[in-house]
């Protein structure tokens, strides 16, 4: 008898829920605002003048618990620098399949170059396509950050974007 009572009680519960408001968010027609601290795919930001913030220090690579980051640094050409520092990341790769989106790389970055965005739609058809290189990681947009004073050596070059790229990047192209 108690079993029958339990069954009836259960049926009553589901019946009540039938009429309640549905919680489905019809993604992707409607997207909810995510928390500002949400950690999505990475981005390497630029200063307001277009220079890359990343100085190729490799600290993010060391900090990453999943060994997802590979940084190869190269010296900046003083006449046409990529970053305001002495070096820049001439090769920069993040394997998004290994990444656990812990954000430790972001914490480790001394120049605040590395930033985890809100972007989470990362489906791809192959594993290789999910190893993001410079082409996908370095943001094309300039951020509202000015180059800090007294941090970098005084050879701030002019911004080089759109005027051809230094040798290292071409090497990267060939590899890809």
């Amino acid at each position: 008898m108690s079993a029958v009572k339990g069954i009836l009680k259960g049926l009553g519960t589901t019946w009540r829920l039938l009429w309640e408001r549905k919680h489905t968010v019809p993604y992707p027609d409607r997207r909810r605002v995510r928390s500002p601290r949400f950690r999505g795919r990475h981005e390497l930001r630029r200063y307001a003048n277009g220079m890359e913030m990343c100085v190729g220090c490799e600290l993010c690579q060391v900090a990453c618990p999943a060994n997802a980051i590979t940084v190869y640094a190269a010296e900046n050409d003083p006449a046409r620098p990529h970053s305001p520092g002495e070096r820049y990341a001439f090769r920069y790769e993040i394997d998004l399949l290994r990444c656990i989106y812990c954000g430790l790389c972001e914490e480790a970055c001394p120049t605040d170059a590395l930033h985890l965005t809100q972007q989470f739609e990362l489906a791809a058809f192959s594993r290789d396509a999910l190893v993001y290189g410079r082409d996908l990681l370095v943001s094309p947009e300039a951020s509202p950050f000015a180059i800090p004073d007294g941090v970098y050596p005084p050879f701030h070059g002019v911004t080089r974007r759109g005027e051809g790229e230094p040798a290292g990047v071409e090497g990267e192209r060939e590899r890809a």
Partner: protein, 333 residues
């Protein structure tokens, strides 16, 4: 009433069979959508809503998808039996419906057209026979796959499907005793004053439980108990063949719901403002809704619990029910 010429009769049966098969397949497709929607609502979701307005074209999309899925026949399988099993399942499921009347006979141009493909005197027995034969599809499918999982699943499913037949048959007997006939139409007509759900509430509830078990519905969906088996007897099936097993399970459910409607809910009888067939369809839909509701509520039983329930609870109660109504019928003359 004029007797039909043999040729007309054959043509009529052919047309009715075609209509019935199309209706059942369409009914299956939309029952599936109905179930997914209702289950969604029970679980705070909205269910399928991407294809067509309110997800109404989802069955079409599912059908196309099933058609183009890879069809695999295991190398070791007994090819003939392997290929025949889903066909047997589906055929038996469809055939069982042939004798179920969905309304009183239609009078068209002086001819009487019964609203079932055949109207044998022993209609109930025909349905039972075909429903029981469906076990062959399950057992053969499990055996022919040459896979341990499928074999065990097939044995389990057969054991389940037969452990309910006795209790179920006894419940049907109580109905037959009350109605005094084995013809489905007579059973419906006998309920003109009072549907049998009110006359024998115990039998009604017992039959609901048996019907759920017979059509392998939750909480008795043991054939494909995903947590214990890979998928049961159809583990090795894919694509359209898998779909045929799936379809026959759902058509069994439709058949059982129709039988419940005929046996206990007064079939097509109802207040005159709707056509009798409409009443029948509405009642069947209500029973189907009930089964979906139960599925959304109850967790799956364990295998031994199911057996214990079948033999130790349902069977004795069904006997009590039968004896009570049989003696009552005998005393009342």
């Amino acid at each position: 009433m004029t007797a039909l010429s043999p040729l007309l009769w054959v043509a009529g049966v052919a047309i009715k069979s075609l209509i019935l098969v199309l209706l059942l397949l369409g009914g299956f497709a939309y029952l599936l959508l109905f179930e997914r929607k209702i289950l969604g609502y029970f679980q705070f979701r909205v269910g399928p809503n991407r294809v067509g307005p309110w997800g109404l074209l989802q069955p079409v999309a599912d059908g196309v998808k099933a058609l183009f899925k890879e069809d695999i026949v295991p190398a070791q399988a007994d090819r003939t039996v392997y290929l025949a099993a889903p066909v047997i399942s589906l055929f038996m499921a469809l055939a069982a419906y042939a004798v179920i009347p969905v309304g009183p006979p239609l009078e068209v141009a002086g001819y009487t057209i019964p609203l079932s493909i055949a109207d044998p005197g022993a209609g109930v027995l025909v349905v039972l026979a075909f429903s029981s034969l469906a076990v062959y599809g399950v057992a053969l499918g499990g055996w022919a796959s040459q896979s341990k999982y499928a074999l065990l699943g097939g044995l389990r499913s057969s054991a389940q499907l037969i452990s309910y037949e006795i209790a179920m048959a006894l419940n049907i007997l109580s109905v037959l005793v009350l109605a005094g006939s084995v013809r489905l139409a007579d059973i419906v007509e006998a309920q003109r004053s009072l549907p049998y759900a009110i006359v024998q509430p115990l039998g009604f509830v017992l039959y609901l439980v048996c019907a759920a078990a017979e059509s392998a519905r939750a909480p008795f969906d043991l054939p494909e108990a995903e947590t214990e088996l890979v998928a049961g007897y159809h583990t090795e099936y894919s694509g359209l063949r898998m779909a045929m097993f799936f379809i026959s399970e759902y058509i069994h459910l439709i058949t059982q719901s129709s039988l419940i409607t005929l046996f206990y809910l007064g079939g097509w009888l109802g207040p005159g403002f709707l056509h009798p067939v409409a009443w029948f369809v509405l009642k069947v839909a209500a029973v189907l809704f009930f089964f979906i509701w139960v599925r959304a509520t109850l967790p799956r039983l364990r295998y031994d619990q199911l057996m214990a329930l079948g033999w130790k609870v349902l069977l004795p109660l069904a006997v009590v029910n039968l004896v009570a109504y049989a003696s009552w019928a005998a005393l009342a003359g």
